[in-house]
Symmetry: C2
């Protein structure tokens, strides 16, 4: 087999075998196939597209390029995971994980850090004093078994093929391809032996995918891969035109997650967790219908069992409950007031995410530090009525140097209307292995 | 400017500026832009295609990436060049150059060596004892001025961008693209300041381009580039389904060129030289019409002035006239006889070129040596009548190890018909800057 022949085959639109994809990817990871052949191949893939089967082969070959965590006989019961493609104010994992665990389904999840305008669960968890996000495999499994939910960073050498490929795609204009994106995400998700997976594909201004149809396609491709690899996968395409919930920033989002588990969550976040969680319970055979699953999730908020799971997880991972309930949030607060009256017609999630990043809540580069105490608390979201001089949001800041810029940016993020505006839907589409439903 | 943005722009089908193409190519030659970005760019070009203007920019940027030979004020009069895309038995330069020079038009030509089934003029010239093909620039110019025709190898560092790009294209499945091929050829041709250029684009089984329409497109792209760069360029698409002339092999082909200039040439070779030469004379204002140009070329055969120019060139380049007229050809000859009667319906130029290469007349790899004395002399070509037992061709060989294989291959190259077959046309299409004529 020669790399050039495989590239040529793909260039001419022919379908590659698993052996061919394996030859390329494993050779590339080993350094036997050079960057220049791989980048030509990736560009050919962008034009000729990979079939579902090819994408699945690629995913599987990438998946096994490094450490694979098979806990199928180490964690009892059906285990699940959730993946979000990243957005602004997305604290879903912190709410959903405990609620699902409270219903007897094990959530064994590896999360990531934030980058750019999107936050990351690991950063958020670090707002809790003492909480360890770097867990040894055995500790991770033990906590998942004992508590029912464990969240940690990627341990060991998980999917090195993706790291190497992503770095190359980033500099060769080959990032934007739905099959390559799907393979990248799924290879990492499926490196853990979770049987059930819900995908939360964000769409809109604050998401990587701005376009609904492209987001549905991405969900489709990922569901296809998961299905071909014998996992139970459901994709929800959800709104990220506006931030999720009412907070952006690390400690602020943990606080909101906590309040949500205490029954005081914002409607969009509660709805999203209910829709995702309800489906996970159905996958895990803990509910006979989505309706039953959703009501079980809501019940776990009402009866405090979800909150209890979060507390158990925090403690099991070495975190302080005292800290969880008294999160450090900056004392420097600026109340941003509306300069006119009306109904909030739109909010620019991307711009708000970037504003929060400028405050220090996010990182511009992978190496940057994050200020856990800063961020935004939103009082007004799309559909809300606002009077002139009424507070739109609070800015929690440490450093004043960018405050004026951030204020201006946030004010411009809001568009007000003179007439009443409907509250937006959170779930826009559902992608199952055999159908797509748009809402 | 960032390479990744330029790649992305091309990936999305936008037209690149000269500055962008220059940034990529000069950066690549300097080693500032890595192979992996260039290969992704090249693959994007294969899909999105380069416009005529982009291809011209690319050609020009490549052209000036190394030494450029501007002899516009060093050689008096209109200077011309001919380029062939390579074929089997193609000794055109050795006939055409002297005939054109005999009509007062200077031919200043850099040639190449053969590779695979195609021969190269430099190898052929080396059949003549003493003839130097590595000329200093000043000697090349002096000979062109004095004799009117000079043929040498690439001197110095001509178009290093093409060498580097070609090596990369070869291993990344990006060779096959008409704009990239056109830019590669034209950058080297236009690195010399010849004002007139005829392109002999070979098409058919023995050519790199097997397909007539693809060959016409290549000719078109090259004529466009030349025209946009203020040169006078004409493209002829000519038959290479069967070998050109009646010999394949180095000394054998020089002998055939000599015989052609003595008035004993095969019809296809004479026709091709007349058509190419007639056009060059029109470009150089030495003839008012193609008809006049062609008859002048034929006259230079009849009156021996072409032969005289070849002899003058050979002497000026240090070659022996004694050797030219007594070329060393292997004494080991095998006469291959037809096993049946009929008319020759087809000959496989590729297979015959490979057979000659196996005898040693060509090189399988760039590094291989060539045996100048071996090759084939064809007695029967398409349209000729053959009787059972009559000789199809002579095989001149040195080494007997591959002789049986070659015999078999050559016999299989011929297809005979029971009914009379027409002689094939040599000129299939003509590409001018404003029209295409198919013959």
């Amino acid at each position: 087999m020669r790399a050039v022949d495989i590239i040529d085959k793909k260039k001419h639109g022919e379908e590659l075998s698993k052996a061919e994809i394996e030859f390329l990817i494993t050779g590339y990871v080993k350094g036997e196939i050079p960057d220049y052949q791989m980048s030509a191949f990736l560009m050919a893939c962008c034009f000729q597209k990979l079939s579902a089967q090819e994408t699945t082969h690629l995913t599987d070959v990438m998946r096994v390029s490094g450490d694979v965590m098979d806990f199928s006989d180490k964690i009892s019961g059906y285990t699940v995971d959730k993946h979000s493609t990243g957005g602004v104010g997305d604290k879903t994992t912190l709410v959903l994980g405990p609620l699902v665990a409270a219903n007897g389904v094990v959530v064994a999840k590896m999360s990531g850090r934030g980058l750019g305008h999107t936050g990351g669960t690991l950063d958020k968890l670090e707002s809790i004093d003492g909480l360890k996000i770097e867990l040894e495999e055995q500790d991770f499994i033990d906590i998942a078994n004992k508590v029912g939910v464990a969240v940690c960073g990627q341990t060991g050498n998980v999917v090195p093929a993706d790291k190497k490929l992503y770095a190359l795609r980033d500099v060769t204009a080959t990032v934007e391809d739905v099959a390559l994106i799907a393979a990248s995400i799924m290879s990492k998700k499926l490196a853990l032996s979770n049987q059930g997976l819900v995908l939360d594909v964000k769409t809109g201004k604050g998401a990587f995918m701005k376009d609904l149809d492209a987001s549905i396609e991405l969900a489709q491709r990922m569901v296809e891969i998961g299905t071909l690899m014998d996992r139970d996968v459901i994709g929800l395409v959800t709104d990220m035109d506006i931030p999720l919930g009412k907070t952006i920033g690390n400690a602020l989002e943990v606080q909101e997650a906590l309040e949500t588990l205490q029954g005081n969550g914002p409607k969009d976040l509660v709805d999203l967790c209910t829709e995702l969680g309800g489906r996970l319970l159905v996958l895990a055979n803990k509910a006979d219908s989505l309706e039953e699953g959703k009501s079980k999730i809501l019940k776990s908020i009402d009866d405090g069992s979800g909150l209890k799971k979060l507390e158990e997880m925090v403690e099991a991972q070495g975190g302080s409950l005292e800290s969880l309930h008294n999160l450090k949030i900056s004392k420097n607060v600026f109340e941003l007031k509306s300069s006119k009256s009306g109904w909030v017609q739109s909010m620019d999630a991307l711009s708000m995410g970037i504003a929060a990043m400028k405050l220090g809540a996010g990182r511009e580069t992978k190496e940057a530090d994050v200020d856990l105490e800063v961020g935004l608390k939103l009082f007004k979201k799309v559909g809300d009525k606002v009077s002139e001089g009424e507070a739109l949001l609070n800015i929690y800041y440490s450093d004043t140097s960018k405050l004026e810029e951030v204020k201006k940016q946030l004010l411009e993020s809001y568009t007000l209307s003179d007439i009443e505006v409907e509250q937006p839907k959170i779930i826009l589409a559902e992608v199952l292995k055999d159908k797509i439903v748009k809402y």
